[in-house]
């Protein structure tokens, strides 16, 4: 796929532009690259129904193309939104953008893979730049700690994943997802190797999306990384990870569901509750969002438990809702103050700045699943698909969202506090991102219905 090449080459060019120490130039080159990639993908989405490249290891049909569009768009918005803060470091700005480009390449590979080779390569291209991005604020102790932690745990997860892939290869004799899926369906595999391999792969993937019991890195890594990088991690990386887990677990190993069903049952319920319960008393916004991310991961994982074929669409709507809300929260808090991420810094902001207040209100209500925002439609579709097969899971999802609503409501109350000494905040380019995301949250759900 040519868009992949365009993005990759943009990343390379951006590295060389770094020599000139001109952040504005780096940003514009990256944006040009991203928009040409966007146009290329858009053309494919309109004129080519299915796109195979690299000897069939990457296959893009309808939903995959739209997901790639979404990933490119989100990356562009994150670049625009983070520019004001990140460009203060003139020496390294271009490095950061190029790392994001490389990571985006990996994300698009993960969206389109049809082969365990490409899957593994994509996952590594996605992860390694993110390890570096997390540690990009070199003066911060927390950032170095986070990068090291993320790198070590991440490499263990990769090792486990490789072991799992090897076992699955041993059981079926193939790397191709279609062939493996066929072997699983017709029972042509070695059971012991297969089951061990599947469980190892699932564990590694759950680590990537941050589900309980593989969630411990989440809060620390988010706290250490800058807000733009965190925005990247909670949108693009999360979308890619979820699509990968959906394709592998649901589509390929779907017939083996007896083996992994109960494991996933425990994982989902634990994620939903442990995330929100740990978030109850947090005072740091980043940690709070990390824990709410864990819970949302649990809800998103419902997509692989359902018996219908619509899971991917529901998952995508849910991820759009979650990603857009995270972007709004992160960028608004970056507008207020980059360094301080204590929740009390949001106190009274909404009352003095109605625009920011309404955006935050939309984001938080969407996260708590209140209609008519996109977050509601995501949860609604996910729960609708599983209510017949797993009523227990749907009740658990609803109970956990009540706990979540408590957390978000407390935030809303403090944001709209009348009696505080909040100041009027000067807006910059970030507000474009905030407006885009708020519109997305308002409209995406309805666009899907009508």
């Amino acid at each position: 796929m040519d868009a992949l090449l365009v993005i990759f080459i943009t990343g390379l060019i951006s590295l060389f532009i770094g020599i000139m120490k001109k952040p504005g130039l780096a940003l514009s080159v990256n944006l040009i690259g991203l928009s040409s990639a966007f146009i290329l993908i858009w053309n494919h989405a309109n004129y080519v129904s299915m796109l195979k490249s690299y000897a069939g290891t990457l296959v893009f049909n309808g939903p995959q193309l739209y997901l790639s569009l979404l990933a490119v768009l989100l990356t562009g918005l994150i670049l625009i939104g983070g520019y004001a803060i990140q460009s203060k470091d003139k020496e390294h700005y271009a490095d950061i953008t190029s790392l994001m480009m490389f990571s985006l390449t990996g994300a698009i590979c993960l969206i389109g893979f049809k082969d365990f080779f490409m899957f593994f390569i994509g996952l590594e291209i996605l992860s390694i730049p993110v390890y570096v991005l997390v540690g990009s604020r070199k003066a911060e102790h927390l950032a170095s700690e986070a990068a090291l932690k993320y790198f070590f745990t991440g490499s263990f997860a990769t090792a486990i994943l490789l072991f799992g892939i090897a076992l699955v290869f041993g059981a079926t004799g193939s790397f191709n997802m279609n062939e493996i899926g066929f072997a699983v369906m017709s029972g042509l595999y070695t059971p012991a190797l297969m089951i061990a391999g599947v469980l190892l792969i699932i564990a590694a993937l759950l680590f990537k999306v941050g589900a309980v019991p593989f969630h411990f890195w989440n809060a620390d890594v988010y706290e250490g990384s800058s807000k733009s990088v965190m925005a990247f991690m909670s949108t693009v990386v999360k979308i890619a990870g979820f699509i990968a887990i959906y394709k592998i677990v649901k589509t390929t190993f779907g017939s083996l569901s007896d083996q992994w069903m109960y494991f996933m049952y425990v994982v989902i319920i634990a994620s939903m509750f442990i995330g929100y319960l740990s978030g109850l008393k947090q005072t740091s916004l980043k940690r709070l969002m990390a824990f709410s991310g864990i819970s949302n991961t649990g809800i998103g994982l419902l997509a692989i438990m359902n018996g219908t074929e619509t899971g991917e669409r529901s998952l995508v709507i849910f991820l759009i809702g979650y990603g857009a809300s995270s972007l709004i929260m992160l960028f608004v808090s970056q507008l207020i103050n980059e360094e301080n991420d204590d929740i009390s810094s949001l106190n009274g902001i909404g009352y003095k700045n109605p625009f920011l207040g309404v955006s935050l209100l939309i984001a938080l209500l969407s996260l708590s699943g209140i209609p008519p925002f996109t977050g509601f439609f995501g949860k609604f579709l996910l729960i609708k698909d599983i209510i017949k097969v797993h009523p227990v899971l749907s009740i658990a999802a609803i109970l956990s969202s009540v706990i979540g609503a408590y957390i978000y409501l407390k935030l809303i109350l403090s944001i709209f506090n009348k009696d505080s000494n909040a100041v009027k905040i000067r807006l910059d380019w970030k507000s474009v991102v905030v407006i885009c995301m708020a519109l997305l949250l308002l409209l995406a759900g309805w666009m899907l219905i009508l």
Binding site: S368, G369, I370, P371, K384, I395, I398, V402, L413, I449
Partner: protein, 442 residues
Amino acid sequence: MTRLLLFDPKYMEYLFHSGKVYKLGLTFEMGYDGIGIVMLALSNLVIFLVALANFNKEEANAPRFAGLIFLMQFGLNGLFAAQDAVMFYIFWEFTLIPVFLMLYWFGAKENNRTLLKFFLYTLFGSLFMLLSILAIGVYSNSYAYETIQYTAIPAKYACWIFSGFLIAFAVKVPLFPFHTWQPNTYSTAPMAGTMLLSAIMLKMALFGMIKWMIPLSFSALPTWQWPVIILSVIGILYGAFIAMREYNIRKVFAFASISHLGLIVAGIMVFTVDSLQGSIIQMVNHSLIAIGLFFAAGIIEQRLGTSNLNEMGGIAKIAPRFGFWFGVIMFVSLSVPMTAGFIGEFLLIKSVFEFNSWMGILSALTLVIGAVYMIRAYQMSSMGAPKITAFKDLMWNEISVFAIIAILALSLGLYPDFIFSIVKPSIKHMLEAVADTQLIIK
């Protein structure tokens, strides 16, 4: 206008009727039948009265306040006109947002705990309603009212669906064990918020019971009828007894409202033509008196700076116009003959009595005890030797609110057929549809 003149309450009149099923099985249809148009008219009247009542308060100048009231009106109109279960749910949750913000911005200071309790309690309830709606969708592959109305759901599943709806509506009404959010919320909310909550948001739940909960899961009604009626009779007595001993004037009216609404819920659960007619006219009547009573309480609080009954007395002597109109509203809420309340309570008690005589006798006690707490509240605040020195008498807009309420209550009491003639055909139609569906199950 011609639509209104040609309106035949037996059938559904569609405002939008695309007849198209969108992706995800959702439809976008809005319309009203006889019950719907009564509720639509009521909600718009309530919004008008609330706006009029707040006309000379400082809140009325805040753009936020007007915005929230209109958002509320949007949500209410959508809710009463929704002909699709998911749309009903969306508007149901949507109405929570403006009320929540109104309570937060214009209510008493330091009410965060109360607000969180109110919001989470109602959200908790309505999420179970969402589960029920989803379950209905799974059974009938559609969310459109005209389809799911005729879907036969087996009794075992209908019980679960019914209970999901019931949790949501019982929290909102509130029914006896779920009422703990109500008195505190009412007493800390701004006057407009209390009026909106009691006059129209509770009616959303009652309307939901009549239109959505019972017809859609009718085979569960025999199972749930007794428990709910017992709970509502407990609520009638409990609310009345607490109101007799309460000294905060707003809390007196809040508990009185629990007591009044218990009777309406019991009537709805009997589910006959008479009881439904009675409950609808009583819903209209309760909206009127709730506005009147909480308005009077709000005026007293605003001018005296206290809500404690012990510190009041003799208001009627200092402010005779207020004393007169407060007295009128009090008599309306006592449901003396020739007011709408009399017709409603008579029909309701009669149908509960026909259902079970003991329940009927117990619920008839509401008339007696109601007189006790209402007259007590009026006596302690307005009669006796004046304990207060100054009380500014009513303004024109306040008088007109009271007058509109009193005229409506009187005219409905003298000519209840105005509502019955609209409502009765659609109730009959609904009961026939339910009976048809039950035949399919058998």
